[in-house]
Symmetry: C2
Amino acid sequence: MAQVTSPGYANLDTIRCGDTAECENTIAASDIDAFARLSLDVNPIHMDAGVARDYGFARPVAHGMLALGTISRLIGTELPGPGSLWVSQELQFAAPVLSGDRVISRVTVEKVSKAAGLVQLRTVVSNAETGAVVLSGVAKVKVLSRSEQR
Amino acid sequence: MAQVTSPGYANLDTIRCGDTAECENTIAASDIDAFARLSLDVNPIHMDAGVARDYGFARPVAHGMLALGTISRLIGTELPGPGSLWVSQELQFAAPVLSGDRVISRVTVEKVSKAAGLVQLRTVVSNAETGAVVLSGVAKVKVLSRSEQR
């Protein structure tokens, strides 16, 4: 059985305000297809280049959740990291991500509450080419310990 | 080229406060695996039954985004429907969804602003067996028209 107190697991004692984690991803047409199959969100604005053009977009618009998925990855694997549990998110999809866009995603620790076992992070995804913010928001994440039986 | 003014596309003139759409889904282990592959969020709390048990969960915890994905589906395909664009979401992951749980997802129109082209919806996902709310929040969705070139 995994030792959840092992190095690499989220640990409130080592998280500081200002800590940050970042990743860069291309949101490919294959990602849009995979998320549509998984979620059944087949809104044609995501699936059909002709419909996207009718609405004024040069290429299909990626599901907002693909941008948010990069934040899920950073929270779940880097900061706070394995063993953390997302408890809330406030977010704006500030601009559309189009199929093929490259994005830079970043989470930054804003508050650490040891009493509540919570970390608050600012979450930002930007278009890597233009620098435009495409997603902004605030996440609250619970850092669990093995003693917290539920 | 698709006619985005066709019946079935989101239309602010036919959306009323109180309108609602609902769907029911089982969040299967295969969904967790597919989302992990797509997002690279391989937090072991989602992927490893032993780690999940160490943290006090009977089964692996589904990514919160799988619950939110059911809301994406309702917004993008039913209410407001095709042609709508999610612009913001405030949400609480009120309780974990465990692998194999069946959930009921519902969106309900709270406000329609024709001037801004925006619809505000309450978003709720509940455990179908226990009735417990697992996700609650508020979405704002832009209903686009073909004339809104960008």
